[in-house]
Symmetry: D2
């Protein structure tokens, strides 16, 4: 009846290894985007998240294997995804590779137009389509699950002066935890913070972040992303086995 | 302020159009299966469901387009799926066709080893893997959501004398409604009745039904399937539009 | 191996017995409300729902036992609740009586300010508090679960010209099915159509219906309520037993 | 556009303040229980959890205000509850006090027979009844949500040699995250690890722990409780405001 304790608080001492993936297209082709994110959205996020103690790397579309090699993913606890124009350029093999890593426990944060990324659609099993309008007006994201750790450090709502509008119906499975609902000036609403478990992995979709607006300098938006890194990067259980299974209990004839 | 009422109870008067799909392999190759289901599992189900007033058709793997033509699916309100050996023989195009029909509102009931069908895996976004053991011992399915209409007419549990055992972890998204949990003689448990919405469609996975056992003559199993036809065949809302959207509200400068 | 079928479609032939409860105060004290609902909100709802084939009765606060006798509840399949000023006048015994009936399978539809009714708070286990503003401006209710039968017969959204505004955080357990999200002109959002199971009973909260607006003449609002009657009035399973339980399986020493 | 970061990883450096509440009756009256837990279940848990770095206190029924004073609760991040015989001895005022603290963000872990505690029933809104049989046989708890941080450090299942059996139907709201399902030797299953959010608070129900078995010396059981302390003690968002609310957006006439 002696007790061998678990690894205790030790798991908190290893920094979470974050890989920020950005297609990095608009920032190099569209001057108004370059003006906002001169080093790319990935670097803006990397700079903003660094005070939180994560071990951060970045990857972009133009790298070999789009920066998503087996090695890179194996060393990633949380993958952050931003993409808009190049969704279809990610080949099957890499999409399946990320998919397998999520099911094996890697956290995934999908930002804004990443809703249409191949990996998000594959994980959701739906089209992930929605309504949109690029009018750079006000978005208010209301917290509807204040018990969720992802809401730590922000108020009752996040107020963004200029953002693209998205509208329902957002064709996703009902979020297992719905954390934010957005209101837009045209009367639209949107499920903007959606949390899921898939296999051993945790997934968070977070809506804001059109490349034409300085959204990734907004302190509340950054705080949510940092919280989400911790959340989807938090521990998981043991890998299950599948297939033929011997009984644990020797059953009587029934 | 005059009121134009909806179509009232009329929607209940159209019989639900059910298509029962069965790969129909084991019943023709394995004598002990043929002895149980001489006309095939699809016909056993068709016979059993006919008293409920559904309009029932069947389809099998060997038919042109595996019996899953555009026309056939367009005239289907609820598709029931049984398969085990031929999952990979269903081509991409047909899997995508069924997928689109589900998102457009067709109900889907996936039985037993259909958990590994391509359509179920595509809709779930996970591997849908599990543990199994073909020992034909006792399965008890406990009702854990007695408010669910799918449980109408059965007791607190369903008792099946001989069934294949499945075990957790079942790699699916957490059921949006978990209706049954099975107990097996080897100490296994299994989430055996799982309900989901995807797009406009409703999905029900129901575990029992190994081809080597006379499970589809068990009155409670049949009652659940009949209830499930009504449930996933019940009405849905309007098809959403996606893409660019004009504001409903003319917004002020914010 | 003979098959005794269930009761088939018979369950659909009994009309659902609806009891519409209204405190019936504002309609008698406030002329502008009386002008909208001269016979009371309960009678407006009764008139509007009658084409659907339900068997409808009404009850109000001033009746003996507030119209909520054991007999009345025993003959009720679906209870619709509207209240605003008199929540605290419903005594413990009657709240517990309704609570027991819901757990035993009676459907419950809670409208608008009924979020603060004692029965809803007791069933939710939370304060059910929210933000509000009686400014009679536009409410748009977006369908976020178009697979749900409650959305049958309406479009992508419901547009109400004049309604009281509610805002998040709405202190309820996360809806098991979230069907509608409202947008208000002040930038608020609200989870306006929330579905729950409790015991054998099904519950639907539906937000619109301030007494100062003619909301219960709006055809889409009425259609949702009619759909909800069918939904929460749909069948349930067997009553469970609790307490000491003999094993179904004679277990070996383990 | 300067960025003020959140409080970063600082929140992890404050130890979680845990209050372990135990009615502490059986351990003093029943010799066979005293033999297992000579200092009481609360002290066994306190000893086992201390290596995890929590700041732990205990409280029992016989203390003034049952050890649940306003001060004690105000200094508690996570309350662990064990009770069996004395549920009805906790007065309304204290139940409401705990309830308010949970909604304000205090985590709550309810163990075993605590399912019938007044605070758990009040939070759930249901009877929380179940089937039981004190036969001290084998319980196997299967992980059905291995992405959940509560499953860190254990295997695919927890195997307990001697435990009281519980059986479904467990009259609770469907768990928002179902983490464990138990199998018992009599053929019963049970939803044994159930997670909920209520207001700002997180709740975890964990089944094992009959006083007559040495369950709280089982390393996996202890690991789950330690993980649960971290989980329900993890951060939450800002306290919402309720009542009248001025519009954030100055709305146009619509």
């Amino acid at each position: 009846m002696s007790t061998v304790m678990g690894d205790g608080p030790a798991s908190m001492t290893n920094p979470i290894r974050v890989l920020i993936w950005n297609e990095y297209i608009a920032e190099r082709k569209e001057p108004q985007v370059a003006a906002i994110y001169p080093k790319g959205i990935h670097m803006a996020l990397s700079d903003a998240l660094s005070p939180y103690g994560f071990r951060i790397r970045t990857a972009t579309l133009e790298e070999p294997e789009h920066g998503l090699t087996v090695d890179a993913l194996d060393q990633t606890d949380v993958l952050i995804w931003w993409g808009e124009y190049a969704h279809e350029q990610i080949p099957d093999e890499i999409v399946r590779r990320i998919h397998a890593r999520v099911l094996a426990g890697m956290g995934l944060i999908v930002l804004h137009s990443g809703h249409w990324s191949r990996i998000f659609r594959m994980l959701m099993g739906t089209t992930c389509s929605l309504k949109y309008r690029q009018d750079a007006k006000r978005e208010i994201l209301w917290v509807v699950d204040p018990a969720h750790p992802i809401t730590e450090g922000i108020g009752q709502y996040i107020d963004i002066e200029h953002e693209e509008a998205y509208g329902e119906f957002f064709d996703i499975p009902a979020p297992e935890r719905l954390v934010f609902i957005s209101s837009f000036q045209g009367g639209e609403v949107f499920r903007s913070g959606c949390e899921y478990h898939r296999g051993l992995g945790k997934i968070f979709y977070f809506r804001p972040g059109h490349q034409g607006n300085p959204t990734y300098y907004h302190k509340d938006v950054l705080r949510v992303i940092a919280n989400a890194v911790r959340y989807v990067g938090s521990p998981h259980g043991a890998a299950p086995t599948f297939g033929f299974w011997e009984p644990l209990v020797k059953a009587p004839k029934s």
